[in-house]
Structure formats: structure tokens, C-alpha cells
Chain length 208, copies 2
């Protein structure tokens, strides 16, 4: 009996690229960025190592693609959260902060990859710079709108935005690493901590 | 001519352990935790691979030791900053926050190691759990003192502490990764950002 099954799955060009990205995303959450190899990703996608290299020059190129997709995903989730918030700018800021922390709790390795040292030189990955900038612009836009409506105190938008970003970023990473002394870091804990932390910051941001 | 130089430096037991830790700490900031190997650390300390294994069961054991030393160092720096602050509890909270961000800016890979996934199972490293708990206790103590003196609003100490911790942790990591869109992240930027962010949070923490 002749075995007609190819060792490689017959992918179209764009499909293979997507399949490799999906395999890499799954593996990333299982083993973290350090242990990820292009060989293992190719195996998971059911293609040869050489085929993987036709789509990504090296592991960093694939990680950068994953990180960029992560920023886009986080941006979409933040936009949805902001759009569904009926409160004013302070409520929208809280909604975006909670979406951020929830994203980090669900995809801890991806969030670490998006900001970590596994991707050395961002200037090689303009898509990543752009996606990260879009996320910053979303937050800055809410702060600007809040200042215009009088809900948020005066101050440089960049400073206020960085403070809000730092808070949710730090909470997301502390929760992602399950490194909060004395706490059982489960989904409910993360949700409540995000609500409390963002509200406390919002007290600081509120116009007196 | 007989070569009497031993390939291994003649270390005393405790000295070798310290030399390996020092070599690992230097390499960590150069290459990050993923690229760190016990072999490379041994080479840098001038001893054999086997000698390194006599002191550390594996790379994770050495990383855990580094992370614990990192927590102790951060704790000492925070204590000094708090002790030299002449302001009340809010000033001490700000001082500890600024010390935290400065530590992360100076030792970015160490801070990431202390909270990251490179050390998988903390229960294997009780010294690490204790050191991290001491740092949390320092912050919680300032919050408690602030509530007792009426400077800080009512609320669960754990929540208020986690919020303050999240803020400085996030800022330190965003600064460490040089991943702040539109900003040139140098020492002056980090110092100013830390001051502004902690003051904004303190407005939120202040008792009304």
C-alpha cells in the first residue's frame, strides 16, 4: 500500500504563516518565550523546520509577530471595554485598565513577551512599534478627553497616561507571575484587584 | 618549564559560592536569564562546570539565589530611602516607590528575574518567598502607619499596598524594557516619571 500522506501538511502560503503563528502562540503560553524554538513550533504546525524558515527569518522575527498581534488584540479588547462603558472618561479609563489586567491574567507569557527582553531591537520591527504606539494613543486619548470635559486634573497627558499604564501593567505582571505575597491569585482576585487599583488611581486623577 | 597554574582558581567553599553568584549577577544583566548557562557562569568565575554544580543543583537554584539576593538588596535600598525621608507616611511611601523604580532601572534583568517565569516553582525556594514577603511587609507597614496617623484613607491594607506596588512595579518594568512610546527613557526621565506617578497615586491614597 502506497503511503500518499505527505510529511508536511499542504498549506497555502498565508495559511502556513497563520498556522505557525497559532502554534507559536499556544507553545508560548505553555513553555514561555525562552524555551520556545522554531523547530518545536514547526513540529506543532505539522511542517518542516525549513518551511518555517521560509516564513520567519529567525525565532525573534516570529516572536515580534506574536508580540505585534498581542498588542492588536489588547487594543481591540481595550476598545471594546471602553465602548461598552457608559460612565464618563474616568469610567472609560477604569474599563480599559480592567481589560488590560484581564488580558495579562489570561495571556501572561504573551504580555511579558510584548514588553520583555526576548525581542531585543524594536527598530527591526516597525509593526510592533506602531501597534504599541496605538495602544498608548488609546489611553492618552481617554486622558485628553477627560481633561477637556473637566473630569481629569490638569497635567501633561504623557505623565498621566504613563502613570495609568504603569499601574495596570504592574498589576497584570504581578498577577501573571502569581507573585503577590499572601494572596491566592485566581480570576476573582485579579478582577477585584483591578477594580480597586484603578479606582484608587482615578481618585488621584480626578479634578479637585 | 612546568606549568603549576591550576585551571581552577583556589576558592574556599563560601568564597566560590559568592564568586559564582557575582559572576551570575554580572552575566544576568548582560544577556538576560534565558541565555544564562551554569557553564558560562562557571567560566566567568574561573572554575570548572563540575565545581559550579557542587554549589548549585541546577541553573534554577542559582537564579533563585540571585532573585533572593535581589529582594534583599531592594529591601535594603527601600529601607534606606524610607529612613532618610523626613516627610510623613505619604512621603515615605513616595520614597520607597522611587527607590523601587530606580532599582529596576539599574538592574532591569534582575527585577524581571525576581518576578518572572524563569524560576518556576517558588515553593522549592523558601528564602525567596521570605524575602519577597519582607518587601511586601515594608510597604504594608507604611500604609498601616499612614492609616493610623490619619494621612491615608481607610481601606484594606492589602489592597492599598498592592495598588502602590503595582504602580511602581509597572513603571519600573516599562522603563526597564525601554518600551514607553514617544519617550527617551534615560535616568532623568525615570526619576521624574517615578516622582510624578507616585505623587499622583498618593493623591488617590490621601484621606479626604
Amino acid at each position: 500500500m502506497k503511503d500518499t500522506v505527505s510529511p508536511e501538511r499542504p498549506y497555502h502560503h498565508g495559511d502556513l504563516r497563520r498556522a505557525l503563528q497559532a502554534a507559536a502562540g499556544d507553545l508560548l503560553e505553555q513553555v514561555g518565550p525562552a524555551a520556545l524554538t522554531l523547530r518545536e513550533i514547526a513540529r506543532k504546525a505539522g511542517v518542516s523546520h525549513a518551511a518555517a524558515y521560509r516564513h520567519f527569518a529567525d525565532k525573534e522575527a516570529l516572536l515580534a509577530q506574536l508580540a505585534e498581534a498581542g498588542f492588536r488584540e489588547l487594543l481591540e479588547e481595550s476598545r471594546r471595554a471602553v465602548a461598552s462603558s457608559r460612565a464618563g472618561p474616568l469610567g472609560r479609563l477604569e474599563a480599559s485598565g480592567r481589560a488590560y489586567v484581564a488580558f495579562g491574567a489570561r495571556r501572561p507569557h504573551l504580555l511579558q513577551l510584548m514588553f520583555g527582553a526576548a525581542i531585543g531591537d524594536w527598530s527591526r520591527h516597525p509593526g510592533l512599534v506602531a501597534a504599541s504606539g496605538d495602544l498608548a494613543a488609546l489611553l492618552a486619548g481617554i486622558v485628553r478627553e477627560g481633561q477637556a470635559s473637566g473630569a481629569i486634573r490638569a497635567g501633561a497627558i504623557g505623565d498621566l497616561t504613563l502613570t495609568a499604564w504603569s499601574l495596570v501593567h504592574g498589576l497584570a505582571l504581578l498577577a501573571a507571575g502569581r507573585r503577590i505575597p499572601g494572596a491566592t491569585v485566581d480570576e476573582a482576585f485579579v478582577r477585584q484587584a483591578a477594580r480597586r487599583a484603578t479606582r484608587l488611581l482615578i481618585e488621584g486623577l480626578r479634578r479637585r
